[in-house]
Symmetry: C2
Subunit: 343 residues, 2 copies
Amino acid sequence: MDEHRVPTIYDVATACGVAPSTVSRAFSRPGRVNAETAARIRRVAEEMGYRANPLARALPTGRTSLLALVVSDVTNPFYFEIIRGAELAANAADYTLLVADVYESAVVERKALERALPLVEGVVLGTSRMSDSAIRVMAQQRPTVVLNRVLTGIPSVITDNARGTRRAMEHLVSLEHRSIGYVAGPEASWADGMRWRAMREAADTLDVRVQRFGPVAPTLAGGTEAAAAVAGSAVTAAVAYNDLVAIGLMRGLTASGLRVPRDVSVVGFDDIFGAELCSPMLTTVAAPLTALGRYAVQTLLAGMASRTPPQVRPALLPAELVVRESTAVRARRRRRPEAAEDK
Amino acid sequence: MDEHRVPTIYDVATACGVAPSTVSRAFSRPGRVNAETAARIRRVAEEMGYRANPLARALPTGRTSLLALVVSDVTNPFYFEIIRGAELAANAADYTLLVADVYESAVVERKALERALPLVEGVVLGTSRMSDSAIRVMAQQRPTVVLNRVLTGIPSVITDNARGTRRAMEHLVSLEHRSIGYVAGPEASWADGMRWRAMREAADTLDVRVQRFGPVAPTLAGGTEAAAAVAGSAVTAAVAYNDLVAIGLMRGLTASGLRVPRDVSVVGFDDIFGAELCSPMLTTVAAPLTALGRYAVQTLLAGMASRTPPQVRPALLPAELVVRESTAVRARRRRRPEAAEDK
DNA sequence: CACGCCACGACAAGCGGTTGCCACGACTTG
DNA sequence: CAAGTCGTGGCAACCGCTTGTCGTGGCGTG
């Protein structure tokens, strides 16, 4: 055997005086070969520095030990912890995670998937920009789990935003707010719909008024843009589509002379990195980011293991309200005259 | 051919009445087969929905079209743009990027590398925690490029922090600061050494005083921790190891009654996401994050293409000072009595 | 003691491409 | 017109591992 080559099962086999198939089974089929033989083979393999070639293994079996996680934008802080959680779960199961960034584009997403699909055993779609039908098509090529979206028949894991929203509302109501705004995100967003709906329901049961602003882009700029409308309205608190919007909103509000939380309370969603960097630090409905990633991968793995299609009911992970500095008791009077409904 | 199987070159070959090898060449060896034949093969392949199996291709050739990017911590905002840049460059060259997170651990890093190495054609090491020698060992298994670190003999791409530091110092001096602090990061950090050295050099030529604080952990908490020492000193401005430390420092300073930038100016490094979320928004030496990732991958690809080991001289990417709100003209007097060297 | 069974290992056929080499015909050239 | 060239396509041997199947020897059992 050439010194500069990496050893194969053939090298190990001749060194042990057994057949290559026996070496293969010594590793992958415990019990199939005599315990002593197996031990000897393993020892020799170890000495020779043998490592199974994952490519060669994958070719006949299709087991690449690779999973894909598709994210709409790697630079979005929302994903950092999700990626971390997914990677953790994948590695724990001896899988490697392939993170694909699709720059918020359905076209790029399709291309990335096309590139990665033959390589991976399963896919986690994080906030996919593709259509439901496109997702269904790809789900029948590879086991798939979707994040932050429900798609009947396809396993999904989502944050329990309804509960989170309710908690946020209760918090604001306990601070004596009676008129609360919602700065909406993209209309195409499934989460946006859920959040707004949950707000209206909470408003009903808590007997307060809610008012919708936007929709705006889910960015700092989007939030800033909405500030004028919020400032000009009667609301004394606002819940924003996500943390970025919330922070932008606080800025815009501050710029227009209002103080947060003194004049207006602000609540965000997700608790991304940055929520406690801003000042005032943002009160927000924290999504279980790491758990989301971890659980998505675990669900995927479970689905791959059992041949029967797994549970269809989406997994709901609990959201928690993190109270920081951007919410406070409603001031007796808003600085603006529009604050008409002071009791 | 079974309806539920994905077509192979063999299927295409029989459909075209040619040999499989011809089909293979029609795709990978342009010019090797007759133009008309090739066109016909491609058309038929297209109709059948043929896609080359990357695994099968990789086995004999070793060309997996996969590149690894190892980052010490995916949740560190420093990496977001780097990953984006790397992915962009990789995709442009028809490569897929495998991002491996190693949670700041040399052990995990080694394991991750062990897992990924046989799959990838090359590796970019972002702020590796491994020893120089360990890196050298792995560099001879696969083409390697290191980020933010120089290692003679191995191509590397780094930020021109010397220049950036000088710009920051010039900026502070132009704001009349004459006594400037540096809050140091981890001593093992190559960048930390470079930054401190550049500060001393700049101090020399600009004729101002510099003082070193720390070292502290490269986190918000680290910065906060250093605030007391900075507040208690005579410096009127501080440059921090990175943005996180800078933001932590601002907080600590504010908590101890000093105002930023009125009493103390603060400058960070890197311009991570978050630098303009905090308030005051941070003045910082912006690292060319996206370019760093992109260039690292391009360097790697270039090195893979030419069989000769590529340039050994590290690539220096320019850093730029981004002036925001955390720096201002030195106040006539610090609130603390220690501010003795007022002219 | 013969038969059958079981445990263990070997053989060989893939998995789906790639590629060195050869064959064959057409064309050029002396 | 013979010989050499070139353009094309086919053959078959890999790449390294998995796995269905078969052969063989040892053992238990009637």
